[in-house]
Symmetry: D2
Amino acid sequence: MKRIGILTSGGDAPGMNAAVRAVTKTAIHHGLEVFGIRYGFAGLVAGDFIPLTTADVDHKINLGGTFLYSARFPEFAQEEVQKKGAEQLRKHGIDAVIVIGGDGSYHGALALTRLGINSIGLPGTIDNDIPYTEYTIGYDTASTTAMDAIDKIRDTASSHHRVFIVNVMGRGCGDLAMRVGLASGADGIVIPERPYDVKKIAETLKHGFAEGKDHGIVVVAEGVMTAEEFREELLKYGDFDARANVLAHMQRGGSPTVEDRVNATKMGNYAVNLLLNGKGGLAVGMEHGELNTHDILDLFEAKHQGDFTLLDVNDEMTKLD
Amino acid sequence: MKRIGILTSGGDAPGMNAAVRAVTKTAIHHGLEVFGIRYGFAGLVAGDFIPLTTADVDHKINLGGTFLYSARFPEFAQEEVQKKGAEQLRKHGIDAVIVIGGDGSYHGALALTRLGINSIGLPGTIDNDIPYTEYTIGYDTASTTAMDAIDKIRDTASSHHRVFIVNVMGRGCGDLAMRVGLASGADGIVIPERPYDVKKIAETLKHGFAEGKDHGIVVVAEGVMTAEEFREELLKYGDFDARANVLAHMQRGGSPTVEDRVNATKMGNYAVNLLLNGKGGLAVGMEHGELNTHDILDLFEAKHQGDFTLLDVNDEMTKLD
Amino acid sequence: MKRIGILTSGGDAPGMNAAVRAVTKTAIHHGLEVFGIRYGFAGLVAGDFIPLTTADVDHKINLGGTFLYSARFPEFAQEEVQKKGAEQLRKHGIDAVIVIGGDGSYHGALALTRLGINSIGLPGTIDNDIPYTEYTIGYDTASTTAMDAIDKIRDTASSHHRVFIVNVMGRGCGDLAMRVGLASGADGIVIPERPYDVKKIAETLKHGFAEGKDHGIVVVAEGVMTAEEFREELLKYGDFDARANVLAHMQRGGSPTVEDRVNATKMGNYAVNLLLNGKGGLAVGMEHGELNTHDILDLFEAKHQGDFTLLDVNDEMTKLD
Amino acid sequence: MKRIGILTSGGDAPGMNAAVRAVTKTAIHHGLEVFGIRYGFAGLVAGDFIPLTTADVDHKINLGGTFLYSARFPEFAQEEVQKKGAEQLRKHGIDAVIVIGGDGSYHGALALTRLGINSIGLPGTIDNDIPYTEYTIGYDTASTTAMDAIDKIRDTASSHHRVFIVNVMGRGCGDLAMRVGLASGADGIVIPERPYDVKKIAETLKHGFAEGKDHGIVVVAEGVMTAEEFREELLKYGDFDARANVLAHMQRGGSPTVEDRVNATKMGNYAVNLLLNGKGGLAVGMEHGELNTHDILDLFEAKHQGDFTLLDVNDEMTKLD
């Protein structure tokens, strides 16, 4: 192996650049050449490759987004398109590829591996919804952005004794909502994986105001319903001065946190070592605080398991009477 | 004059607490007693007064929101309710009042002055929409919050070559949109006070992409239309991958910036001195960087003048061909 | 058990307030009363106790420092002083105590347990230097503060092609330096637990500049030497434009991060449950991402184990020729 | 005039990149070509010029430091070196130059103008120490960074009832110390332009603690003495638990604030217009909130005037008994 490629795919996530940097610097340390593949699998098929040196990644560790760009490219599900991609790589002498992205990207990595180009997948998404990993690159920064926004919202909620219903991202996964909710002292946290009880949340809010609390916060995962929809449900159970808020796309950006930079760096470094050891078709993750690998195939049959004890802890801090 | 009251009214704004602190500390320096009036004019009529010492405001300068709380109270437009308020003040020996809030609050301050309680209005609103002042308490923090959010949004916009339409607050006033737009390097800024040209903004965006820009940002004041409405108009002029974003209530909160803390402190200090000099019925503002006062009556007949040269500067940095 | 006390001891750390909040809310959920013991063990002996309600902790989760205050009190090493403390607790009907602090505080918690007052220790220090735990409350916020400062320093380093030597805290423990160094893309990381090689760091810096890097960063744990001392050593190996920086006490403060709020909340909640189960003399920690407990006695004979693979990863991203 | 150059000189300051971006975009709007001159006057003499397009400045508005780099170059005081510089410019067809930097850079701008290359100086320094301007590019960001650091320091000060003496930058100018001090609620502010009274500050601190304040902050401009020196003086007047802190170089970096981006943009835009009107040898500044120009020659004979009313306001919020 003399030359490796790296691409980012799917929605961007803070820390992707830190991972690209770590891949680049680790690979160069081991005497390899590195090529950045721009615009994900679309760029792979088009041959949009740029050489990466250590100087190129000098100022990337603290940068949100992905400087290699990303792009939707459903065509890569077709075998002939995959073959074109593998051809492009061979033409450029690229022996192996590291793919950073959501679970969609793993299909591409597996396809390349089957076509003889060892590929490793790194979990890059703010949604934390990938199987066999408790952490995805970008998850901590998105949590931080959402929490910081709710800290600000709390100021205005308190000034007016209001309740704010806040939508956070996460698609079908409630991890972001749970973590942000717990960190924000939310009175209620609503996620897709568990039933929710609007009446109980209304009671909690009322009880809080009765005890002297001056505001209420409910964090609702976007995968359940819109904040406005929840607000309407809530108003059936009480006469709250309630407002709906959607944090939206700012959660995808921003300079990555310590956690995201450190983990992205460790994962990027690890992925190069896997390639050096001749591995392919693997997904890197983190379980019990340690890096792991799983066959990508296994991921397709599994489902991400969130840490639902966060919900239990939040419940156990609530007393209704 | 031995005892003064202070209240916050209308929507909360970062820096209100810094102003309350400055009023409290300046008044105590001059041997006065200070009472916080909670919940704005509602609390004034209800007699919800709390004594304020220097220790009470010890940790308030960096706090968003208003720890005196605010509340809607349209009833204060009625003369009999105003009289009840003045009575409450007299009953508690309060000789003068400082009111921090939007232009609604000035009516209350004027009414109290006419009833013999000298009152001074301080401009407290993130909207920067008060006549005879180029600055209102909270405006700089709200600008900062909006700009920080757009900095994050730019990361994801760039990663995907997208255009983001971002709604910022400001009600009928375009100042926030202009300042945030200029600070965010927006391709277009849309405000209520000036006609806008969607076609020209679309051309600017296209030209940017053609020249190698990897994203587009359009800042739209909420007083013009929703981001989604603008997005739909924009799509008539080009096939953009465009998303709509509403920054919403987070713009109202957060720890105040240097500018807001310094100005709120200067204004609070100044207002106490006005009262010490027997003044009432005045609104404090800032023109050409200096504190000023105007009769509150004058404000009702005037309109805030924004600095529209910001738009001109933005236009003069755009080249279409 | 009807009433529990909680105190913070040693140096303050962001997240202590979140832990106090979680203890208070969990205890009240279970029908217990909670008393805050102010000024650590000094206040315990003096009987400086304040009742805590849910409203009292309403705005504490996002607050740095410790609102219960902390204080040095070496006298608590004496058995008679310990007995006085236990007496005070009994007099106030307090059956059990939760202590949040550095390893010094564990001695106090053990002493109380031996005197019949079940006590649980929570790891609260930015230094991450407590045995049997990979995480201490405040560690993530301190890492974040240090990293943010270095991000700013990098701007000026790059503008002038300078090298900055930055001292971070951690006392005898290198965890903060390692994590911050990796997250900051440092060219060198110097910690107390491992030998360091100034010459090699000088070579790395020279190599970086030769390759086109426009700055250099070396993170030095305060437990090794001052930044200025390192700077002088460095200059023996090259003609760098090098500056020394000490980040100092700002690393102790600030609003806690998501990670610190979530972990502090989980730990506070867990500690109450331990007390409810009749446990005492235990230290709560986190290993492999899960909460654990150890006999406090065991901690006195053990040493914290850092994750030195972070150093290895950093080394493996460096290439000298 | 067909081609202009732009350089940054002296210490870097946040907002310099925003100014370079504004110059570039405004000049291109007017049909000019723009060259970035790297490494200040050193690069000017060496002919280190790079063409700048709108795409080149696409991601610069939010970037701290100066991407054109800066460098010390005292040799430019010599006439023959100045002539070499002018020659380089002519060789490259550059008709005019915009210089962003501290007062040192104005000498260079004037020299070039006298040699027939119209040059305009923009005030770029965090120190706010330039005559005939109340604002310099970077001043607001540095104020913000210092205030944020002190907000964190206050947390730990409060937890331990400590006094912190904090050194902020500013060289011979006290503006940064005054503004940061007022925004941080400092008990004392010490600047070079005014006598200071350690005894009075000690009394203020004691009085504060006596009244229930839980911490003390004194902001000392680096131009007066070190924080440690002040601490030693302070201890003569009281038995404080006092610590010294030097904020140092982080004050020079960081993403610019709204104020710095907006003002840098306005000034960059304005400078191009001055050149278009055939002006040279002028320094741009801001007085009473409006852009102004002065002959550079006048600056050499004048001294920056700070707004010392900030000190008076701080004094008027202090009551000793």
